[in-house]
């Protein structure tokens, strides 16, 4: 995997989230992800792997990711001046949506992939509602999702023409639904088959190549 060394341009806290920004030339689809590690990790193999993060936003040559500190890897990344990043990978949300109002839903605080998506939908004039399942410490993220509603569960989404979900969980039958999943990754580029996601028809897909965004009905556990 090819990594690029970049300097973190800014770092901001939004409740339990942190937004990291770094320079990035190139394009990205909403729902794609990057691999990141602390630059210091390069001279140390513990931790060994880089960590995947959804692209949060990309504007004017500045990439942002939204991270929550979970363990060693995220702690190191959160406090590093220099990080190493991969290019954006994977298959994001597909824009071929039926006409009509759409819903964006984030389960358990997994809001990151929805940010760029909602901006793109807005640019294209697609009507949408945003529903976020958030813990109390995550509520400050609403700053970046104006108009979004914080919910415990998503209620009846059957009126929507399509649902764009982040995070696993049951989806309303009959509505087209794309869902971004998080599976632990090693290579992030389709080589290792480590990020297997069970398919409804049997067998596995790779979250890093065939995903991380899947048609919900393709997956076995939705």
């Amino acid at each position: 995997m090819r990594f690029h060394r970049v300097r973190v341009e800014s770092r901001e806290r939004l409740g339990s989230y942190r937004v990291l920004r770094y320079p990035w030339e190139g394009d990205v689809e909403p729902g794609q992800f990057v691999l990141i590690r602390a630059a210091s990790q390069r001279t140390s193999f513990d931790p060994f792997l880089a960590r995947p993060f959804s692209v949060y936003d990309l504007r004017g040559g500045v990439m942002s990711v939204l991270l929550e500190v979970r363990g060693r890897g995220t702690r190191l990344i959160a406090s590093s001046e220099e990080i190493e990043v991969s290019a954006p990978h994977g298959r994001g949300y597909r824009p071929d949506v039926p006409a009509g109002r759409v819903a964006l839903i984030a389960r358990e605080g997994k809001v990151a992939p929805l940010r760029l998506l909602y901006r793109r939908l807005q640019e294209r004039g697609v009507d949408h509602d945003i529903f976020l399942q958030l813990a109390a410490a995550q509520v400050p993220i609403l700053r970046d999702f104006p108009g979004a509603r914080v919910v415990d569960d998503f209620g009846d989404l059957s009126g929507y023409a399509a649902v764009y979900a982040s995070g696993p969980g049951a989806v309303p039958p009959g509505i087209p639904c794309q869902v971004a999943v998080e599976e632990m990754m090693a290579c992030g580029e389709g080589s290792c088959y480590g990020c297997a996601v069970p398919l409804a028809g049997g067998g596995y897909a790779r979250a890093c190549v065939e995903g991380p965004v899947f048609e919900a009905r393709e997956l076995a556990w939705i």
């Binding site: 995997m1 590690r37 060994f48 290579c187 580029e189 389709g190």
Partner: protein
């Protein structure tokens, strides 16, 4: 069968740093393996470089080696398939692959102009000879690596490797079916020396040492096993180096070193221990293989040696 004029062991006089090249001259990365010239001694380790990764690192690898293929398609093991460990990782992929027929249809994706090796695994000696027979007929395939040591398949390679007699049986069957194509036997660390000797007796052209080490990850929070699988990465490098070193003393066929190679210095260490070529596995997930080759070239430049001069020079 394949004993290259290999292993230019350094004579004492040469060790001290003679044969210095004029500064700035290019370095000679070529090695010869089983009659094939590799323009660098680096080879991807089976199962760690998909076609995108192989294409992205064009020029780095002296040969290409895709993921192990089996007679029939395999869906692989249920997730989780990965765990991270200190300086390493555990995988339990379970040889997910589309089966040899589908695989052969897509083989051209791996053609980057360097020799193409194919890794195969089966559950019986018959499987291996079937696979070798199928590959023997295809001119694109230049050598066959027998995965005799996958720790993630319940009935499978691992058990062949555990008992030298069955290594010998499988390799012999494979060599016969391969119709003259070089057959490489990839062995586990456990019993590596005996396995290498058995493979040599059975006509293997080379041995690859080592596969992942059998390992376990426990999830303390959930109080359950996360994963039984194979350990790879820098953590296992010292174990792999030891296997290469001991096998170099025990067999006359060339050795492909594998296990934890992550820097140019690591490549040198494996060659000094006796490897003719070196496989890059998990390190490819966390580093650009081109950097590893660049570091290795830097090492050769500093020492003034050719890549092939290193082979076994620490003995």
């Amino acid at each position: 069968m394949c004993r290259p004029a290999r292993r230019g062991r350094l004579r004492p006089g040469v060790r001290g740093g003679a044969r210095l090249r004029s500064a700035g001259a290019g370095v000679d990365l070529n090695v010869e393996l089983c009659g094939l010239r590799l323009h660098t001694p680096l080879v991807p380790a089976a199962g760690t470089h998909g076609k995108e990764a192989v294409q992205a690192s064009e020029g780095v690898y002296g040969a290409v080696l895709p993921k192990t293929v089996t007679p029939q398609p395999r869906t692989g093991n249920p997730p989780p398939r990965l765990a991270e460990t200190p300086a390493g990782m555990i995988n339990s992929i379970g040889l997910q692959n589309p089966g040899v027929e589908r695989f052969m249809e897509e083989l051209d994706a791996f053609d980057t102009g360097v020799p193409l090796f194919v890794s195969v695994a089966g559950e019986t000696a018959g499987d291996y000879s079937l696979l070798c027979g199928r590959l023997a007929a295809d001119d694109r395939v230049r050598a066959i690596e027998l995965n005799l040591s996958c720790p993630n398949v319940e009935r499978g390679g691992l058990y062949f490797c555990a008992v030298p007699a069955s290594v010998e049986e499988v390799v012999a069957a494979a060599v016969e079916a391969a119709g003259g194509k070089p057959v490489l036997a990839k062995l586990a660390s456990e019993g590596a020396v005996e396995g290498a000797q058995a493979a040599e007796r059975a006509g293997a052209a080379a041995v690859t040492l080592i596969n992942t080490l059998p390992a376990l990850a426990v999830d303390a929070r959930r109080r359950e096993v996360r994963l039984r699988g194979g350990l790879s990465g820098p953590a296992i490098k010292p174990v792999a180096l030891r296997a290469v070193y001991e096998a170099f003393r025990a067999v006359g066929i060339p050795i492909l070193g594998c296990g934890g190679v992550a820097t140019g210095t690591d490549v040198a260490e494996f060659m000094l221990a006796g490897a003719t070529a070196v496989q890059i596995g998990s390190a490819g997930f966390v580093r650009d293989p081109r950097e590893i080759l660049r570091e290795f070239s830097g090492y050769l430049r500093e020492t003034g040696l050719d890549a092939r001069d290193l082979i076994g020079a620490a003995h």
